[in-house]
Symmetry: D3
Subunit: 334 residues, 6 copies
């Protein structure tokens, strides 16, 4: 890993001597006609904008050969422009092999260890009692597809928008859904857990996440929900005797998991498992989204963040849980 401080921790006037990934790159010129590069540069903790003027050292190389997803080495300082931090760049260069940097180290990542998460997922699959469902899951979560699932983010920007975010979000939901099955024996645990594991699987194809997080063409034309439904349809056909009703119930869980037509689910929840899956997804997604928003947004006035569009409000940051409370951080019941 890199031996440099995180961007998010740098203050005004700090000097910068960092490797950073190019997130956006545009060649522009001023009203007065002078060329410059408008960049967004980032590491795993966040990103900043920066302008590189035509007389800055390294300008020519970057404007000719630089591209989104490449890592550059930058010298400069942190400044403030219109209330936001930005990078003032003294020199910039493309990295070479001998720098030994890995682009993957520059994307935001889940705090959980991916291999541990993979193991948690696979051992949960083994606990599925229903043979058809266990075989379906075993076939889906292997090889390339498992690798993609382990790496993909759960979203472009709102919740779990980081590498490994999809598997992290899925595991959190499994814990919630298992608790709901503990409380309500009427829920078919195998069916609900299967739906939980598959519900966002289509995001492995809906999004691209090698350098920045973007929607793929297929993702925008078809969407992760239908991508996944077609995959289940095809996989179930490979398993001899897979019951038609069971297949339809699993696909129904995937199709209805966004809960409402206006949230792009083509059918709304019509089974007990479907309503549980939708509400568990909401609980996990919203708490994670608010948490990461509170982390990344500076308080503007007093304890308040700026207006957050997806929450339709500004958010209030109260004190961290105090010492007394910290003792209770461990689960009370495990």
């Amino acid at each position: 890993m890199l031996d440099q401080s995180d961007l998010i921790d740098l203050q005004k006037s700090n000097s910068v001597d960092h490797f950073l990934m190019i997130r956006k790159l545009e060649l522009r010129n001023t009203k007065a006609g002078k060329d410059y590069l408008s960049l967004e540069l980032g590491d795993k903790s966040g990103s900043l904008s920066a302008n590189v003027w035509s007389d800055t050292k390294g300008f020519d190389k970057i404007s000719n050969k630089g591209d989104v997803g490449m890592v550059v080495k930058v010298l400069g300082t942190i400044e403030e422009y219109q209330g936001n931090s930005q990078l003032k760049i003294k020199s910039i260069r493309l990295t070479e092999i001998k720098d030994g940097v890995n682009p993957q180290d520059f994307l935001p990542k889940s705090i959980r260890n991916p291999d541990e998460m993979e193991e948690e997922l696979l051992s949960r699959i083994k606990m599925i009692s229903d043979d058809y469902l266990r075989e379906l899951l075993t076939n889906v979560f292997k090889d390339d597809r498992l690798e993609k699932f382990k790496k993909a983010p759960a979203g472009k920007s709102w919740h779990h928008a980081n590498i490994h975010g999809l598997i992290e979000h899925t595991l959190e939901m499994i814990r919630i859904c298992d608790l709901m099955c503990d409380i309500h024996f009427e829920l078919n645990r195998d069916l609900l857990i299967t739906g939980t594991m598959l519900h966002d699987f289509g995001k492995t194809e809906e999004l691209s996440y090698d350098s920045a997080f973007e929607y793929s063409d297929k993702g925008k034309l078809i969407g992760h929900i239908v991508i996944c439904a077609s995959m289940i349809e095809a996989e179930a056909k490979q398993i001899p005797g897979f019951p038609e009703e069971l297949k339809n119930l699993v696909i129904h869980l995937v199709l209805s998991h966004q809960g409402k037509l206006e949230y792009a689910s083509p059918v709304i929840p019509k089974t007990l498992e479907a309503i549980a899956l939708y509400q568990a997804d909401e609980l996990s997604a919203k708490v994670n989204a608010y948490k990461s928003t509170l982390k990344s947004e500076k308080s503007i006035r007093g304890n308040w963040t700026k207006f957050i569009h997806l929450a339709q409000t500004d958010l209030y940051k109260h004190e961290e849980p105090d010492e007394l409370n910290e003792e209770t951080k461990e689960s009370l019941f495990d």
Copy 2:
């Protein structure tokens, strides 16, 4: 075909000596505890409700063996109850083989000839220039699937809710879309016509239409849009070299053809063909729905029908086009 007058043409006090199909059947009793059968009986022109009392001739047979979809022979008269016509039944019996009736003759039907429509569809498929699309369509519209497509209604009750309604609606839309391609060369005609042919194909599985028109379990859990998307995904895989982008564009047409998320499309139209398909569907569906509503609804006050929920208004029936206008019924431009 049957040699009997249509239900819709019968007036109060007319006597009835008809074969009719059972659309609904329920055994009830009155507050006073007397048994009776509550029936809905119909032919291809419409249906009426009728009560069969326990002392009516034939009551026992029907209550023991009668079921939805069977055809019965009925003697009785037309009466009026709370402003609606109903059947007063003197005797009722199940049909036998020697009656020679065919249940299919008792379902509402398109006025167009189904074989002519099939030929029109198949010859239009042959005019598709793109080899991949033409092969896709040829594979879809054959054998059992073609038979189903030819027979299915386009909806449960609102528009084209009759046998052969799906192919009739599809052909009307093809004419509209071909006209739009005549006017706007920017539209990719092959792509648009392919999408038009497939857009409601999933209704062959979403609905059941052997006796009454109902949604199937699969139809309610998955819906005709995703049923069709998965079929295209599978069919395209069978055609060597079928371009990925082309496949996604065809699926996009099917997925977005209801135009808005709240109308159960999981993606909204994002191509020129997609917006044309959605709006052509609206034009065909709405005109047909209003037309059949005006035909089946009696005027209540003056020229007005009752309040029509799906139109969110009552409708005004003005005079039929007069003689002069009838001369213009033929197309002015053909």
Copy 3:
């Protein structure tokens, strides 16, 4: 307890010799001018409608002295009218002291033991680390208020609409919220659990639940949310040094727990705990509502219930979890 079968288990033609509670009572007459009583009679498992004619034994007493909430003794049979079961009554009388029936036995009840639930609640209060919050909760949940909280339903008809439903719903949410705190240390556990315990407390005054479940005048004019907010405001004043910010955060949790203005929350969630509380409430409420709907609604066609207004769909009842699955009913992780 009563030694009689549950209403919900009775079939057509079964005879009835039951104590039942009057849920509705209206004196009507037929078009022909004959008097009768239109009743709804129920036990803890459900209720049925029944007509008592003026010549039925006991008619006079009931029409003069009967009232909602009283228990009557009824002889009769189960019949079917327009597809629904109803009671055909041969004789009816008011209960006397010597019958030894307790009206409370005729209301639907939580399946959990109320004393166990009380103990679970009180011991969870003791685990609150923050002294102010623990004192606040201790003062609220005692004496009369605790008795009311233990008895009240969580709703009039949709979810947890039974005696002890409020405490049962609250404890389920505490389990969900504790799990969320296990996963996300950023949540202030004391604050979130305090808000969870109080969020629906105002329902003890919003609803009346001695005989049937109804809204009180105060409940309709003010609502449980503001009733509870004013109570917290008053209680916090009694605790010396209760921090203003902490009080506002607790009230905010109560005010915002329905999540959206259109759901009658006067403010929307603006803290991490507030969004967690809202979503945990949704998860618990929806799963319980769908579960009890599936239990009480007969399947009408195939596996489908009738259209459920609050779910905006009909619901699908699939098979009970099979034997294999039942082994997994115990929590996998406890």
Copy 4:
């Protein structure tokens, strides 16, 4: 016509020696206090923004005498500023009579010939069978009103926003509506075509379109729908014996043609012709709007335009119809 290249075809660094129309003109100064003119200059193909500094040749004349709608002669080059093209101006001057330019040549125009379109319209009017309707149309579409109708755009910016756009849009809708009458004899062709011709007629007064396309005061206070309704009311009074019901039906078509109250129609469609007119309008308007958006918007990422507000999505530009497809561009059925 002008002998100069179209603005839309110019690339970065191309030099400009063009007559252009002033679309917007504002005198501003920089933070540093220097004066400049902020202009939007355009021809029939599009428009660009440009700043003219106080030391640029021609600055004084333009800032004193220039105004929106005037044509200027400009020397300069195409540059890029923040991702958009703009004009860098070296000198600018007002045109003189000897330049021989006609302001009308600088507005976007329909690709169809206006005189042909006028003839198509007038000959279609002659085919109206109903004497009252034909006389009404003949009286409306003549002299000044015909000239305005021939020139006006159909909208400010969304669809058919060009000179002659209104008549072009109307003729497209007539073709669609005539096709619908061919298919559905229940439609009163005379009534529907009359409504089609008049539906947007009020736009001749709602918009001003001599230099830029703007709403007039009357247009904003009253709107094209009511402007047209009052005109029909007045014109029908001039025709002896014009039937009251027929007049109301024509006005109803105009009032309801936007289909929904929230789209500013004061009544919704209540006749078969009204629903056909509304849906045909939607079909023509949406296809034209998406078509011109795809034409004018550069693809930003891959095949996608920027987010288009009125479509509520970004749009996908796939390949032009290929050669094979082009053979099918001619109507298959004419």
Copy 5:
């Protein structure tokens, strides 16, 4: 006037010997096939439903010659059916000339004297300073049009749904708007009062109110808003020199007075007078609607009415203002 008690004051078991107007009339028969007339009969205070059996005295005459709007003489008693009062009829006959009854006496009426209201209106017109507006109003409010305006209700059922209701509502709004002009000198009083007088004038043609209150065909196809706008357009043309801007502003007031597109205003308020007119209309209409609902609806449970659809709630009837308060009924400031 009639010397008989009001229908609304009659209790169960009271005998009836009344002249009443036929509001609805339908010939039906029972399931058992017996004919009867289903009637709604009313006086100015309200109306009741009644069945007349074929063996009731007078049945034949009424079923042959009776019609909506006629007055009949009825003998019978008040009974209760399913919680609602109804008339049990012993004999019924059509009225004759010698009965001396006037159908107008059987419609609900404003409590204010119509001639006083006319005078109040006309004298307020004379106070209009602007010559054009005063002349416009003088021309509109005279002869037949004045008579209609004086008689018409302001609505079909929701507010001021009684004879003279339109002028009463208009005068109430004039008082409110004059008060607003007293407070805010920026309001153009002449313009606002003119708009107030005309805003609902189209209701004189939108509704029919000779026997029952119904929408006319023209009312449903065009609506009172556009009916009035066209009338102003025509009337202003008759006044030489009437300023175009002033005419547009008056029409804008009429068009926008329902405030929102979804309430059927084709434009929303864009002037200070327009927003004042809309809000004053809301204030007058809502207070009157709730007042008359509270008057006509019996309390069902405690102090609550049934659910009122247009208010989207049930309403609470508290005590009448007490004696002390009554002293303040006179205006404090006049």
Copy 6:
């Protein structure tokens, strides 16, 4: 008071030698790295933005010690930047005691005299007949709370957003509500006027208004509606014998005064007084909001303001009422 012209009256090029209040203050630097202060400076008539460069006289003092709410002395001129006026500053300094300026003089103020308004309010309270309500109001409107009520604005920016705006708005509503009581004796005048006086009282705590108008933390977490409801609950407890129903009715008026759930009222109006209060509030608020918008917004094109978000339209400024009309400015009926 200050002897200087109002900001709103200054034109381009006017020189400025004014005391002004700092409304916003931010230290920024340019792309080129030069420091400057971005300020908003205002007096009671409005505010302008201004940049202070690091080489401007006074820059250091202001950037070190200046803060929002302080008054500064400024020398400079009015300039225009991108169509908006701004201040070009030559020198700036903080005020000293000897300048004798009072920050309160720099906030926008109601045009009515606050002491007169206080007297009007208090004498209206004395006219309340009901002893409980009069005592409640007397206790609320005294000492500190009266001072705050007298000073507070009624809103942050939309209507009555000025010092003393809350009492001014309240008195306007009292006049409207008293008029409604004059017209409709069914309204309980005491109850309605009490609700009117209290409806926005919570804004004294919801907003802060010492320098700029902002929401307080408590205001954002709880809102003025619930703040006030809790206060009434507490105050009513202090008055022996205060009737429970009366208290609930007053609180209901406060809770429901925003009329709809989506406007943050936790209950909707359920009494006659509640609907009157809501609609009177709408009338007063909207007229004041449009009036002040028309006053502060420059006409951009012709008579039209820019698009006003809260009105969802641009607004039309017609001529001031002419001389003739001015004679009618006095109330016609007082």
